[in-house]
């Protein structure tokens, strides 16, 4: 491994780690707000218990999210100084606004976690909602910054100089909306399925069934609504990518040759040397239809892109297949669940329904990681699409390989500890929150 690959891997690792915590930080406050709301309206103690149990888990995730985010804001400079030197002032607008959003989030979190019985109960509830809203806003803002790397705007690039900077235009670049929409929905579906799956498992194990059933319902509804919307928003994203980054789209589809009535490829093993795909299922004309709205118009293939500007095809393609495949599975589960709550109430108590949710526990997060791999690897070799190459942005410092190893070790140990803590939280639910032992 050379230093350049190490730097890229370290960046990807840090972001891939952070995104898990930021999804939870964006979404859990809304789940808690719902449970909290039920508690305030119905006085049913189980809802208060759910809120409190969740908030303990969330505090752990928040702290890890906050420190890993702090690491990222340094890593941008530690690993990509040349990039930040030029890009910082241009795409900095969302980051400077994000500072505010984080701050408000941190303040509201202080009120929420430590404010039980200290404040007016609706004020306290509202601080929880504020945590969620500001988390969501900060997520949208960072994604807008990332979208700028895919779709640079707000400056004139003349002879290697970045002139006439307009940070506001840079923030509202062509990609920000489709990416931010898709990301927010993804956060809801990933967190929703993870939480619903854990509670479903506890129901199946017959532990504190009442508590876990109520918790499951809140998470499952969010998850399933998000799973229904996800493919729609994914379609918007794909159309968008085809306009601004034809190379990325071609890599996602392993679409080597420009052809009319381009087929949609499902699965398959790309053979880059031979410029063809083995074993895939091809649906004629569908790719043309998805991109252009008719079955005939050609879709640009990789042959239109100079070799030195082509992204890694296999990784991008596999990652895309994983994301879409998991999206379809989650869609199916969501459809079953909606049929269950609207038409067939009897399904709700069936084991197979819960089992499906248990199996889906990690799917949303895997899809999120895969989706980011599509976005980031599919943009290569550019760090700023069409403007600056990633290789030109990397730090001149040697020895990044070691830094990558150390960071990897650290992220692995943190993940282990967080998992261990979460396991303990869940195990203790029975002791702390068993309704039978608790005076209402």
């Amino acid at each position: 491994m050379n230093d350049f690959i190490a730097a890229r891997s370290q960046m990807g690792l840090s972001l891939g780690f952070h995104i898990v915590f930021s999804c939870i930080g964006m979404v859990m406050p809304f789940f808690m707000a719902v449970a909290h709301f039920y508690w305030l309206r119905t006085n049913n103690i189980v809802y208060k218990n759910i809120t409190k149990a969740w908030s303990k888990g969330v505090a752990i995730f928040f702290a890890t999210g906050a420190v890993s985010g702090t690491v990222l804001s340094f890593e941008l400079g530690l690993l990509w100084p040349e990039f930040m030197k030029h890009a910082g002032p241009i795409f900095g607008m969302p980051f400077s606004l994000e500072g505010t959003a984080f701050f408000i989030e941190a303040i509201a979190l202080g009120f929420f976690l430590y404010g039980w019985d200290r404040f007016n109960k609706w004020f306290h509830w509202l601080t929880g909602v504020v945590v969620g809203v500001s988390g969501l806003v900060s997520g949208i803002l960072v994604v807008a910054a990332n979208a700028w790397m895919n779709s640079p705007a707000g400056f004139d690039f003349v002879n290697g100089q970045y002139l006439n900077i307009d940070p506001v235009k840079a923030m509202f670049n062509d990609a920000w909306f489709s990416q931010a929409l898709h990301m927010c929905i993804a956060a809801f579906s990933a967190t929703g399925f993870a939480v619903a799956g854990i509670h479903a498992l506890m129901i199946l194990k017959k532990q504190n069934v009442y508590f876990h059933t109520q918790a499951f319902r809140i998470a499952a509804v969010f998850a399933c609504v998000a799973a229904l919307l996800q493919p729609l928003s994914g379609d918007i994203s794909a159309k968008d990518v085809s306009k601004r980054q034809p190379a990325k789209l071609a890599a996602m589809e392993a679409h080597f040759h420009t052809e009319p009535a381009a087929p949609l490829l499902i699965g398959g093993i790309p053979d880059v040397a031979a410029q063809k795909v083995n074993y895939g299922l091809q649906i004629p004309g569908l790719l043309s239809f998805m991109v252009h709205g008719d079955f005939k118009t050609p879709v640009d293939g990789l042959d239109k892109i100079p070799v030195e500007n082509q992204p890694p095809v296999s990784i991008t393609h596999y990652a895309f297949q994983i994301m879409v495949g998991l999206g379809m599975v989650m869609l199916l589960i969501a459809v079953c669940y909606f049929i269950a709550i609207l038409k067939k109430k009897s399904w709700l108590s069936r084991q197979w329904l819960l089992r499906m949710f248990v199996i889906a526990t990690p799917m949303g997060f895997i899809a999120v990681e895969a989706g980011w791999t599509v976005t980031e690897v599919g943009r290569q070799p550019w760090i700023i699409n069409g403007i600056m190459r990633t290789a030109d942005a990397v730090t001149p410092m040697p020895g990044i390989v070691y830094s990558f190893y150390i960071f990897t070790a650290m992220y692995i140990s943190l993940s282990l500890i967080v998992t261990f803590l979460l396991y303990r939280q869940i195990k203790m639910v029975g002791k702390i929150y068993d309704v039978k032992n608790q005076a209402v």
Binding site: I60, S96, E98, I107, G110, R424
Partner: protein, 339 residues
């Protein structure tokens, strides 16, 4: 607008030293507390700090964002040449933040607590130490943008006796701030005395390390005395800091009002930072051969600075009232010990 941005940068750094510093200090105090008093220190600190600790650390992020949006050359230079101490500091930040939270939110209380405590305490020491090292290296004239061999470009840019001395000085200041802060947080006489003693020890340590910093600066040819005493503002600031120090000791001995003691301690640190930064303003990075990076000459284009300034102003309107209310709500009951 550039001045607005600079004021924000400076204020963010100051508040990080004061609030984040007190926060680091909590761990430093714990490190230097005898085994039998540790648990009490821990719970008192926790009660005082937990609701606001996330907010305290936001100041660092604000400072970093202001740097990379407004002064990209400075951000890029610092993060290239001070890569190693920055990474160590980051590890400190990660270890500390997570250990602090884990030990309070672990659902089972067992031997893991010992592990969290140890990590928390040592990383509370390392993080501000390297913060000091980084700050010192930025102004000590050791960064050499033309160096090509690994050692002079990435090691000797920060490794010097001066930066080590400043590191210890920073640690002492943090411990001092935390001890002052915690005096008002405890209820019983015995522990109050204990924390007052801690505050005094930390203050002595800070003064001693301050002196060491001077000596080392002199021997390494860094004109620190000139920065501090070379102009009227510096002299006034240092004098004010010394006077407030005297007053502070008097109040500590006489059991003065907590709030005044806290203000005095904050005032001292503010004056020290003011004296150091004002002298070579607007140059915040001083490199080898007298070259420097200046906040004025190395600022981003006007439009970038303008929107950064607007974002900061807008943010403050939203943040400040909420932050004050937070601090007020969770500090209402402290500061009553003289009664």
């Amino acid at each position: 607008m550039i001045y607005v941005v600079i004021v924000y940068l400076w204020t963010a750094i100051l508040l990080y030293i004061l609030l984040g510093g007190a926060d680091f200090g909590a761990g430093i105090i714990e490190l230097f507390t005898s085994e039998k008093n540790k648990q009490h220190t821990r719970t008192t600190m926790y009660r005082a700090i937990a609701p606001i600790w996330e907010a305290n650390h936001m100041w660092l992020i604000i400072a970093i964002v202001v740097l990379f949006v407004g002064f990209p050359d400075i951000y890029a230079t610092i993060s290239t040449h001070l890569h190693i101490p920055l990474v160590i500091m980051l590890f400190g930040i990660i270890a500390r933040g997570t250990a602090f939270t884990f030990r309070n939110y672990d659902a089972v209380i067992d031997n893991m607590q010992k592990v969290y405590n140890r990590i928390f305490v040592y990383s509370s020491f390392i993080t501000p130490f390297f913060l000091g090292v980084i700050a010192a290296s930025a102004v000590s004239g050791r960064i050499d943008p033309d160096a090509h061999d690994f050692l002079s470009a990435y090691i000797f840019s920060w490794l010097s006796w001066f930066s080590v001395a400043v590191g210890f000085f920073t640690v002492a200041i943090c411990g001092f701030l935390a001890a002052i802060f915690i005096i008002g947080e405890t209820e019983d006489e015995h522990n109050r005395k204990r924390f007052i003693r801690k505050a005094k020890q930390m203050n002595v340590a800070a003064v001693v390390f301050g002196a060491v910093v001077f000596v080392v600066a002199h021997s390494e040819g860094i004109p620190l005395d000139n920065w501090l005493f070379g102009n009227a503002v510096g002299i006034i600031a240092i004098t004010a800091a010394s006077l407030s120090l005297v007053l502070l000791w008097y109040l500590l001995l006489k059991k003065g009002k907590v709030i005044i003691i806290r203000v005095l301690a904050g005032f001292q640190v503010t004056m020290i930072l003011l004296a150091i930064t004002l002298r070579h303003y607007p140059n915040i990075v001083i490199m080898k051969g007298g070259r420097y990076l200046s906040l004025m000459e190395h600022a981003g284009q006007d439009k970038a600075i303008y929107s950064l300034g607007m974002a900061l102003l807008l943010g403050s309107i939203l943040i400040l009232p909420a932050l004050f209310y937070l601090l007020y709500s969770f500090n209402k009951n402290t500061g009553k010990w003289h009664e």
